[in-house]
Subunit: 338 residues, 2 copies
DNA sequence: CTGAAAGCGCTTACAG
DNA sequence: CTGAAAGCGCTTACAG
């Protein structure tokens, strides 16, 4: 490995001066700087990141730790997140590192261990639960981090969307179209976003003076098979819904599959709306008929999320900085008046 | 952060001795060791990985660098690889780090930069091309690495399957069943594995004294949409194939979709065999009728691959250690005599 | 069984 | 504008 000492020896200057020349410090002679830089490239010098980190106490590495999952579709979703996030973080000149734990591993401990072993400047957390132990742990350690989504029980930096509005907007649209028997395939209500969406749906119902049937709201993991089987079950009920709201496009895909297998027409026989995160593998344009619903591309979340985290690490931003992103609504062709 | 110095001060011993006690060295007094260990846990001491790496020249980190891809299905596949690999590497007490470059980034340069910046003990490479520049680069740097698959043009450590046999076995089975018009949806023949498979198919044809129609072998990215559209095209030809060999289960899924949309029955109207990597998202059991073909679970590849790489890094194994894994064949119910 | 010392490669006050 | 020195936290010969 080529070190500063090697360059120092070659050009006959002190290591100190070589370091400063390469670091672009102002108080270095023009000629000296040039000579040093030429030699550095000639020898193929790369600063040793380990040594630099030890000295500066900063590694430039942002980590995300996830537990392995047995659900391939959840993994596919996760990977889209990783790709998007990673691209943004690289663009800021930082390194993004994904740590996949064993399936079902205790990632709280992993976060703590990794942080206390040095070498990680900060973390990105996704899918927070209420009273999320990872958040509590990182707060206790004083580690810089930012959450996609939020845990209302703790104060921390986050980037999120208005999930109350997600539920309210879609329910409101369907109620306006005259639907009353509206099923809601919600995400797991162990997570805050799903609770908010349920509250939003309830608010829309209340505004229209309608009492929702609690049996029509389902709290389930948001995958295609879950969308399919639960829709089939709903359609088999004594009083099947005339419209379905799906928590994401994977669930919606399952809903479409169910209607198709029953020979039903969307939207004539069943109206469908879904929230769209902009996942490529389940793009709303790939639905026939085009899927309507609320839209908030995850891609935009990563941009602000990484920029905010960088600021927090540098100590130039409130460690509890919060941000709620915009939401849009597309009608699509998947919902019609009853 | 808690350091050795803190413990040293608390217990009134030198940093040297504290380090040795914690390191589990033999020549430390029982009582001393106990006292030090108790204090370490009391203070919540974690050895600083950065400092340790700088000293030992080893980080315990294995990296895989991939370019971002625009193809969500390719990403889903990749992520299954990452999950499996990561689990194995963690199990060996090493850290696995995934580095996702920008879409289309020059990962050769990324490999070199990351290695020369220190902090990476070795690399895992997947999807080698002939004369793969990443391999050439890592060989030049003397970096430990292992490849899943192989580049016959360079000597390096790898774990691979016998792709000649993959092609030969499936073609042979179909030829035995009496098929002559056999289409082959092969992977991109810019990669060695696909060339080998083509050679294997050709060998089976030769053995049966049959001359294959070159127009029936397609070199395409192995995704579901590609499987579907290319099958439709083949079925529309003047002389449609009676059997199709697919390079993986994603392609096979597309083939099934195409037959279904044409109202054809598998295997009565079209026999299908595919190579199965054991991907969860496209499991062969989830096919109806059950898909037949060669099988080699990627999972087993990761076990030996990580163990081999660990050995190579430790200098206890030939850096050019190669290994060819077993292949099995399942008949399934997707192919029948013509 | 224990400790003082050197050193991994870097950066950064400090003194000139 | 330049260099000697200290130090980030650790490990490991070396001497006792």
């Amino acid at each position: 490995m080529v070190t500063l000492k090697d360059i120092s020896r070659e050009v006959g200057l002190s290591v100190t001066q070589v370091s400063r020349a390469l670091g672009g410090h102002a108080d270095v002679n023009r000629d000296t700087r040039d000579k040093v830089q030429r030699m550095a490239t000639r020898l193929g010098y790369r600063p040793n990141a380990i040594a630099r980190s030890l000295k500066t106490g900063r590694s430039g590495i942002i980590a995300m730790i996830v537990a392995g999952s047995r659900d391939p579709q959840a993994n596919a979703h996760l990977f889209e997140i990783v790709m998007g996030l990673s691209a943004e973080i690289s663009a800021l000149g930082l390194q993004f590192v994904l740590h996949v734990g064993q399936t079902g591993a205790d990632t709280t401990q992993l976060h703590a261990d990794l942080y206390r072993s040095g070498g990680i400047d900060g973390f990105v957390l996704i899918g927070p639960a209420p009273d999320d132990p990872r958040i509590a742990c990182l707060l206790r350690l004083g580690a810089p981090f930012i959450v996609h989504g939020r845990d209302p029980a703790q104060s921390h930096a986050f980037v999120d969307i208005d999930n109350f509005a997600v539920g309210e907007t879609m329910a409101d649209h369907l109620l306006h179209l005259g639907h009353r028997d509206i099923a809601f395939l919600n995400g797991p209500e162990s997570e805050f976003f799903a609770l908010e969406r349920r509250r939003g749906v309830a608010a829309a119902f209340a505004k229209h003076g309608v009492t929702p049937d609690p049996a029509l709201t389902l709290s389930i993991p948001m995958t295609e098979p879950n969308g399919r089987t639960n829709t089939l079950r709903l359609l088999d009920a004594a009083r099947p819904p005339t419209a379905i709201i799906a928590g994401n496009t994977m669930l919606a895909r399952g809903v479409y599959q169910a209607t198709e297998s029953r020979g039903l027409n969307v939207p004539r026989d069943l109206s469908i709306l879904a929230h769209d995160d902009g996942l490529e593998l389940f793009a709303s344009e790939s639905f026939d008929p085009p899927l309507g619903g609320t839209v908030a591309h995850l891609t935009t979340a990563w941009v602000t999320l990484s920029a905010d985290l960088k600021q927090i690490i540098a100590g130039q931003d409130d460690p509890f900085h919060t941000r709620v992103l915009d939401l849009t609504f597309t009608k699509g062709l998947s919902a019609c008046a009853i």
